[in-house]
Assembly symmetry: C2
Homo-oligomer: 79 residues x 2
Amino acid sequence: MEWLKEPEKHFPPHETLKHFNDGVCVTYIQEKAGLSQSTISIYLTNMEKCGLLISTRHGKWSYLKRNEETIKQFTDFIT
Amino acid sequence: MEWLKEPEKHFPPHETLKHFNDGVCVTYIQEKAGLSQSTISIYLTNMEKCGLLISTRHGKWSYLKRNEETIKQFTDFIT
DNA sequence: TTCATATATCGAGATATGTCAATATATTTG
DNA sequence: CAAATATATTGACATATCTCGATATATGAA
């Protein structure tokens, strides 16, 4: 969640997509997290189901970005 | 944590102590939570160790109240 | 000091979570 | 379509968490 606040500061630019409008692809997150591909895939899928992330497919890549609306609801609740 | 924000609204006054300055005794929390005595005791002890609660002994009772300072640090971090 | 009450600790079983390797599926490219 | 790459799903095991009953400890009262 922290990394995805400022993707350009934490991830390399993607070879295909030149922007971070839809976030970062699974592989980049996986490599940075240092966990296995399957683990990260499950985590990201779950976080999307929870509403914390938004997933967008571009070709063979899935891009993940923060779902600020739900995140705010959550932080409001915690606060 | 929610209940302890306004103890007087969620718990009966204590037979001995007439105020809520140090929070609420374990038994009251246990009854309201509907979990066993041992479970609640462990939870409250852990929450105190985490810094979320402050425990004060008065005679044979332990009173628990929120540790607002640490709670704020936590909510700030989450936010 | 003994009893009653409040709380803490221990031991245990069920369920959940963290994590992986292996395999399956999707998608682009030659 | 076949190969290559990206992602998803499955099955499994280790560890953590939830929760309890039983027991131990602390403390005030008789």
